[in-house]
Subunit: 168 residues, 2 copies
DNA sequence: ATAGTTGCAAAAGCTTTGCAGTATG
DNA sequence: CATACTGCAAAGCTTTTGCAACTAT
C-alpha cells in the first residue's frame, strides 16, 4: 500500500464493501456512516493509527467540525465490525480498541502496562496450540485472542523503548 | 481436595499466604479482608463457583448480613490478586471475573461458541512465546490472556462431547 | 410519505474517589 | 494514639437508551 493509486483503490474497495453490506442488511447509506468510515480510513493510511477507540474517533471528528454524535459513532462501529471492515479488541478492563483494516495478516497483541500502547506480533506456535487443543478437547477452533501484557524496558535516559516517552 | 481435613488445610494455607502478604506490605489485617477471603474460599469449595464477579461477591455478603462496602470488596480483591490468591480475568467487554485458587497451575481457556462453557488447558509453548516476544519487543511480560473459541464436535447422537448437551 | 437514523442528554453499569469516622498496630 | 482502613455516597468513564427531529428511499 504505497502509491496514490493503491491507496485510492483500497479506499474504494473498502467503501464498496460497506455499501454492499448496508444494502444487504437494508440499512441506509447515511453521510455520517461514510464520514466515519473515511475518518477511520484516513487515520490508518495517513496517521498510521491502526488502533483507536470510539471516543478519540468521535473527538477527532468533532474537532474537524464534523457534526456527529457518540451514539452514531458507536452504532457505525458496530456495523463496520459486523461486516468485517473493522475488528474490535478488548485490551483491558476499560480499554476497547478498534482496528481498521481489511484482510490483515493474523496477528496478536502486546499491550504496554504503562501507556496502553499496542504492539503486534505473529508467532506460528499459536496456530499449533489451536490445532492441538482443538483436537484434544474435541473442538473446531474458529478464532482466538491472545494478549500479552508487560512493562516496557527503558533506555539509558529512562524512556520507554517502545513509545519513546518518559515512564514513571 | 476432598476430605474435610484437606479442605481445612487448604483454607489455612490460603489464609497464611494472605497474612504473610499483608505483613510484608505493612497492610492491616482487618476483619473485612478475612471475611472476603473466606467468602471467596467458601464459594469455591462448597458452591463450586470458581469464577465470580465483584458485585455478586458484594451482594452475597450483604445478603448474609455481613456489613461491607463495594469499595472494600474491590480493594481487597486487588490485594488478593496482587498476592496471587485470586486471578482476574477479562472475559468480555464488561465481564470482569475473578477466579479463586492458590497456585493453580497456569492455564488458558477454550470457550464454546455454542454454549459459552469454559474449558481449561495448559500449553508450555505459550510461555515460550511470552519469553521470546518480551525479548524481541523489549518488554518484561507480566501476564497474558489467551482465549480459544470453537465449535464443539458432536457425538453420534448429535450431542456436544464437551457439555453432553444437544447442540442446535 | 414513512420508517430508519441522528443528535442530544440523560441513564446505565461498573469501578474509583473523597471524606468523616473507626479501629489496627 | 497515629494513621491506615472502612462505609457511604458521589463522581468517573465508557457505552447505551429514549425521544423528538430529520432524512434516505
Amino acid at each position: 500500500m504505497h502509491t496514490v493509486k493503491q491507496v485510492e483503490d483500497n479506499r474504494q474497495e473498502v467503501k464498496r464493501n460497506f455499501i454492499a453490506y448496508l444494502e444487504k442488511m437494508n440499512q441506509r447509506k447515511t453521510p455520517e456512516r461514510f464520514a466515519i468510515l473515511d475518518e477511520i480510513y484516513m487515520n490508518e493510511i495517513y496517521l498510521d493509527k491502526k488502533h483507536f477507540d470510539a471516543e478519540s474517533l468521535f473527538l477527532h471528528m468533532k474537532n474537524n467540525n464534523y457534526r456527529v454524535s457518540r451514539a452514531t459513532v458507536y452504532n457505525t462501529l458496530d456495523l463496520l465490525v459486523e461486516c468485517g471492515l473493522v475488528t474490535k479488541h478488548q485490551f483491558g478492563e476499560n480499554i476497547t480498541k478498534y482496528e481498521a483494516g481489511l484482510g490483515n495478516k493474523q496477528h496478536d497483541h502486546l499491550i504496554c502496562n504503562k501507556c496502553n500502547k499496542v504492539l503486534e506480533f505473529c508467532d506460528p506456535r499459536i496456530q499449533q496450540i489451536k490445532n492441538m487443543m482443538g483436537e484434544l478437547l474435541h473442538f473446531e477452533i474458529t478464532h482466538h485472542s491472545l494478549h500479552l501484557f508487560g512493562d516496557p524496558k527503558l533506555d539509558a535516559n529512562g524512556k520507554c523503548i517502545a513509545c519513546e516517552k518518559e515512564v514513571k
